[in-house]
């Protein structure tokens, strides 16, 4: 068997998708990005309804200006890792500001959210330790777990009773266990039952990490995420997150009150051996974090839009994710219906995420929508109308 034989099935699938849709859904070219909520695809303007631009900050003039100024002052890149020549004053300032934002003592900034999970998980745990992860965890969590060498045990999604069974079975090993959950799960948009999980973590003397990738800037009065909304900030050992969603850039972080987090940076390969975030990125994230922290109005608009879309699609009879959040997952009856529906929506000028098994939980197929604070009321109505027309087409 040759190196490339394993890609044959992908080639067949890709060809079939191209024949069926006339466009490759997992490699769509955004020809021009027009605003935080609109772009040009295949020569026409479409409404973006599947980005993670929850607060719509990608075009915020203050963030753009910060990025431009930093580029002029410090250049386009650091050309080095944090350990070598890639720690500028801005990186350390951002770490201080993140620690302050979460009222934590320690913070580390990474080059992406993916490598933050990869690095922190694989460094904190090793052979002999146990990782107890929600079955719907993001790929970066699974990959970090695999790299660690620790025993990886899944518990049923958002099911504290199932988690408790597994903690009980571990006996004394629970002391060496890191539980990992997410604030809002990226595919179904549901929140973790954090307060119950914190109780279990305490009862069994385990440690707990919360990935706030999709909940930073979305949940809580200050926008800290599920840890704030559930009033559990002090009981969570590690919070990881990304700059590529509500903060509108790219990068990742981990904050903690464990002083040892500062030592983790010296042992984390995905921190030590990759270039640090560019000055432009750091500057725009610092500005975006200030806006996020003071942006209650943005969160209110985001939630208005989330409820508007969720209610509108529910009224049309679609089966949706368990609760209204800015991630609105629409269950489709089959893979074929999902592909057809995705294309119909695009033809009506609405671009959503196509999610096919195994990316979606339980082998389901989804059309994943997400809303932004800067979607207008009319734009949300447009999305609902497009789903209505798509549904009618499927029924024909």
């Amino acid at each position: 068997m040759g190196l490339f034989d394993k890609f044959k099935s992908i080639a067949v699938e890709r060809e079939a998708l191209m024949d069926q849709l006339g466009i490759l859904p997992f490699n769509v070219e955004i020809e021009e990005i027009l605003t935080p909520t609109t772009a040009r695809i295949s020569g026409r303007e479409v409404l973006l309804a599947g980005t993670n631009n929850y607060l719509g900050l990608t075009f915020d003039p203050r963030c753009i200006e910060a990025a431009c100024s930093a580029t002029r002052a410090e250049g386009t890149g650091t050309t080095g890792s944090r350990m070598a020549n890639g720690t500028f004053a801005g990186h350390l300032a951002l770490e201080r500001e993140l620690a302050e934002f979460y009222s934590c003592t320690k913070a580390i900034v990474f080059s992406t959210g993916f490598v933050a999970n990869l690095g922190v998980i694989s460094t904190l745990t090793g052979p002999g330790d146990v990782l107890l992860i929600d079955s719907d965890s993001h790929a970066s969590i699974y990959d970090g777990c695999r790299m660690s060498g620790a025993d990886i045990i899944r518990f049923r999604h958002n099911n504290p009773a199932d988690l408790e069974k597994r903690l009980r079975r571990l006996g004394d090993r629970a002391n060496n266990t890191l539980i990992i959950i997410e604030g809002i799960y990226s595919m179904l948009g549901d929140r973790a039952p954090l307060a119950e999980i914190v109780e279990l973590k305490k009862n069994y003397s385990a440690s707990l990490m919360v990935d706030e990738a999709h909940s930073l800037g979305v949940l809580g009065h200050k926008g800290q995420g599920l840890v704030e909304e559930a009033d559990c900030l002090e009981d969570v050992d590690f919070i990881v997150g990304t700059f590529s969603k509500s903060l509108g850039a790219i990068g990742g972080f981990c904050v903690s009150n464990h002083p040892e987090l500062d030592l983790v940076r010296y042992a984390t390969r995905s921190y030590l051996f990759t270039a640090s975030p560019s000055p432009a990125t750091v500057a725009s994230v610092r500005q975006a974090l200030r806006i996020l922290a003071s942006g209650l109005d943005l969160r209110e608009r985001l939630w208005q839009n989330a409820r508007h879309l969720y209610d509108g699609l529910a009224q049309l009879g679609f089966t949706l994710g368990p609760e209204p959040t800015p991630v609105v997952a629409v269950y489709m009856e089959s893979k074929e219906a999902t592909l057809f529906g995705w294309k119909k929506l695009l033809e009506q000028g609405v671009y959503v995420n196509l999610v096919l098994p195994p990316a979606a939980p339980e082998g389901k197929s989804l059309l994943r929508c997400s809303v932004s604070a800067v979607h207008t009321h009319e734009q949300i109505n447009h999305i609902i109308k497009a789903f209505s027309a798509m549904s009618a087409d499927i029924s024909l």
């Binding site: 777990c145 695999r146 025993d151 990886i152 045990i153 899944r154 049923r156 082998g363």
Partner: protein, 83 residues
């Protein structure tokens, strides 16, 4: 664990597989879970969860990579029960 223990576990796993649409007659202990029984990755994970509940064990994902046949699976369950 004894051969008797192995046989008991095998019988229970075969019962579970029947719930996944695999008739007990067609299931040989040398059958490969993926190639012969046509269990995709999601079904394998479901099967593991059912086995975990049935035997009150937790099955590390790390151990799955070495499991190809039903016999491998049953031996690993035996090991987890004895651990």
């Amino acid at each position: 664990m004894s051969r008797a223990g192995y046989d008991e576990i095998l019988a229970e796993v075969k019962k579970l597989l029947a719930r996944f649409g695999k008739s007990r007659e067609e299931i040989d202990e040398d059958a490969e879970l993926v190639n012969d029984l046509e269990l995709d990755s999601l079904l394998v994970m479901e099967l593991v969860q059912e086995v975990e509940d049935m035997f009150d064990i937790s099955f590390p994902l790390n151990d799955l990579s070495g499991i190809h046949t039903l016999k491998d699976f049953v031996l690993q369950i035996q090991k987890e029960i004895g651990a």
